[in-house]
């Protein structure tokens, strides 16, 4: 194993390069752009045999990636925040057409007010889009998850978003092991599927009447449900081939005898491990539940993990206005009618506001103190 210092952006670019994408399309945006520029450098240096489409906007970028996917290519794009919102129409369309485009998202807050800083609200805005949404806690996981994303997407015929936070991950170097191309080739073979096949003409996305539309949606959702198992299987296969276990859809850290579970996703998971270790050192039975797949949401696996705990603290770096944190809401929905545990949901670190491990520890203490209070969610760090 040879370790290199890579930013999350570079890790994403390496992932796309190792996956041998045939077509790349994007429109520059901050903080995703370093990943884009790195891929162009790979192409110019001949390290990547990839056609690049210099789209004139994010909407067209995803459209071009979609067109290439329909014609049978493995395709990739990168964006975040406003770019992702602008792509939204094409995102839903891509999922409905069952095209396994992979998109890296360097999560950033949404305007207004204008912000360039990290938050997961952009990804959450796409929670009903039909994309598989995976969240990464460090840069190694970004690279590894992009490789897994192609395998998952191509197996399920669904598009996949790989999320890492802007700046906290996109612009921060960490030690990353870049796998050998031959090993990636063995893990990630490519079988061409061309919906737009010149030798087998088909009509794609014809006007669909009420006697068929609902059935398409049933099958699309069914594929999403089946993706839970596929994500787990692909993660297990990856672990066998590369020796790194990212646990599929969900991971429990020191959860075996835990009575207080911290539930979160993205970079807060890395901080969470430090906090859990500190609490354990103090003799407290704390554990961490890492949500790696927000879509599909692993509700049953989460219930199994939370069966014995007394406290649940959910950290959300997003706000669904008038409702709460997206992960908090999913957690409550997963437990409702099965387990009667108070779930405390905290909205933290929006728009790049610092949220440090010591604050995370503070939130967990607060959560136990207020466990009996019925507030739906609270803001921390105002």
């Amino acid at each position: 194993m040879s370790l290199t210092l890579l930013t999350g952006s570079e890790a994403a670019a390496y992932g796309a390069m190792l996956a041998r994408i045939e077509v790349l399309a994007y429109y520059p945006i901050t903080p995703a752009f370093p990943a884009m520029e790195r891929m162009n450098k790979f192409i110019e240096d001949g390290e990547m045999n990839t056609r690049f489409i210099r789209a004139e906007g994010d909407h067209s970028a995803l459209a071009a990636a979609l067109g290439a996917s329909l014609a049978g290519s493995r395709t990739f794009t990168v964006t975040n925040s406003q770019g992702l919102l602008y792509m939204t129409e094409v995102a839903y369309h891509t999922a409905g057409l069952r095209q396994p485009v992979v998109m890296a998202v360097a999560n950033r807050a949404l305007s207004a007010p204008h912000s360039r800083f990290p938050e997961q609200g952009d990804a959450i805005s796409q929670d009903a889009s039909g994309w598989i949404q995976l969240f990464c806690e460090n840069n190694q996981e970004v690279l590894d998850t992009i490789l897994q994303a192609f395998k998952v997407g191509e197996t399920c015929r669904l598009p996949v978003m790989v999320n890492y936070e802007g700046y906290i991950q996109s612009h921060t170097q960490e030690e990353v092991d870049v796998p050998q191309l031959a090993k990636v080739d063995a893990f990630l073979p490519f079988t061409r599927v061309s919906a737009l096949d010149i030798n087998n003409p088909q009509g794609i996305n014809t006007v669909t009447s009420p006697d068929l539309y609902m059935d398409y949606k049933y099958h699309q959702n069914d594929a999403m449900s089946q993706a839970l198992e596929v994500i787990n299987n692909v993660a297990a296969e990856f672990s066998r081939d590369f020796g790194r276990d990212w646990s599929g859809v969900i991971e429990g850290y020191r959860m075996d005898d835990a009575d207080h579970a911290l539930v979160t996703m993205g970079s807060t998971v890395s901080d969470g491990r430090i906090v859990i270790d500190a609490l354990r050192a103090e003799g407290k039975k704390a554990g961490l539940v890492k949500i790696r797949s927000f879509r599909p949401f692993p509700a049953a696996a989460m219930r199994a993990m939370l069966k014995k705990v007394q406290y649940v603290t959910v950290i959300d770096k997003n706000i669904v206005f008038g409702s709460g944190g997206a992960l908090g809401n999913e957690t409550k929905a997963a437990l409702y009618g099965h387990l009667s545990i108070p779930v405390k949901n905290y909205i933290c670190g929006l728009g790049g506001r610092d949220f440090r491990p010591d604050e995370l520890k503070q939130v967990m203490a607060l959560s136990e103190e207020r466990a009996k209070q019925t507030t739906e969610y609270e803001w921390f760090g105002l």
């Binding site: 789209a55 004139e56 459209a63 014609a71 290519s73 395709t75 061409r192 010149i198 009509g203 006007v207």
Partner: protein, 295 residues
């Protein structure tokens, strides 16, 4: 077309009998768009992939598991036909497939209005695709509202007293993109249209063809007058047939200059035009062709 190195005018006999678009389409009687599609496909041939945004043409092209196209057909989102075509071309290049025409075929909205950004992007990149605008000069798929391609004074469903501004000149705009091939066409001149598709298909880079495609509903004309109306547009000089190859403009048909009122007054959408307004349009045509006055 060339035969033995000599330029020979195409005749209808040179076009194949087979229709790659048409059978089973759900177009209205006399649908100008459907006629244009049928004519174009006789030249583009079976090695063609077509993308089409929301429009009458996309709607009439297929329902559920049926398609009126014998080639790969993809009904895209409204704004993205050129962008997906760029993606398809990139994929074909990656696969080493070279003998396929990639065509984005949009209405006037999907070309000049909501689809304009992705069209401009693909043209500026000079991606090797053909973009076709079939222009019925209003938003017919939603009942006939005004758009940028609606001519001045035409009555539409949301401007019943007539549109107050003129038609945005898409051909000039596409020429300004400095692409290799730009042409206007219409359904009353099928051989002219065929020659232009031949050139666009042969051009390695971005091509743009703008087809005037009358719509009986929107234009308020009898259903058997689509082709005749298109001919009046051409012969009056209201719709000029030309091509621009590498920036050089050539008129491909000399109009006989029938009075423009013959074109306008045969359509219900212009029935409220005043004599002054007709004269204003006639003057604009005269000025465009450098003529003193109408016959």
């Amino acid at each position: 077309m060339r035969k033995g190195g000599e330029l020979v005018k195409m005749t209808l006999k040179d076009l194949p009998q087979q229709d790659l678009f048409g059978p089973g389409n759900a177009g209205c009687r006399g649908c100008g768009a459907a006629i244009a599609g049928r004519q174009a496909m006789k030249v583009l041939g079976a090695r063609t992939i077509i993308t089409m945004p929301a429009s009458c043409m996309a709607t009439l092209s297929g329902l559920n598991q049926k398609t009126a196209w014998s080639i790969p057909f993809y009904h895209t989102l409204f704004e993205i036909a050129p962008a997906v075509s760029s993606g398809i071309r990139a994929s074909l290049e990656a696969q080493g497939i070279k003998d396929v025409n990639v065509v984005s075929w949009a209405g006037d909205a999907g070309t000049a209005d909501i689809g304009f950004q992705s069209l401009s992007g693909a043209a500026e990149r000079n991606d090797n695709i053909i973009h076709v605008c079939y222009d019925n000069e209003m938003y017919m798929n939603t009942g006939g509202q005004s758009g940028s391609q609606t001519p001045i004074y035409a009555m539409t469903s949301n401007q019943q007293k007539g549109k107050r501004t003129g038609k945005k000149d898409m051909l000039k705009i596409m020429v300004a993109h400095d692409v290799g091939y730009v042409a206007s066409a219409t359904i009353s001149h099928p051989l002219d249209l065929a020659e232009k598709f031949k050139k666009a298909a042969a051009h390695d880079g971005f091509s743009y063809i703008h087809i005037m495609a009358p719509c009986y509903r929107g234009w308020n004309i009898p259903t058997d007058q689509s082709v005749a109306t298109a001919r009046k547009a051409v012969e009056s000089g209201f719709w000029e047939l030309y091509e621009v190859v590498d920036g050089k403009k050539t008129r491909t048909h000399e109009p006989s200059f029938i009075p423009v009122s013959e074109y306008l007054m045969s359509q219900g959408r212009f029935k409220n035009l005043s004599t002054e307004q007709v004269k204003e349009i006639q003057d604009a045509v005269n000025s465009h062709f450098g003529r003193k006055e109408a016959k």
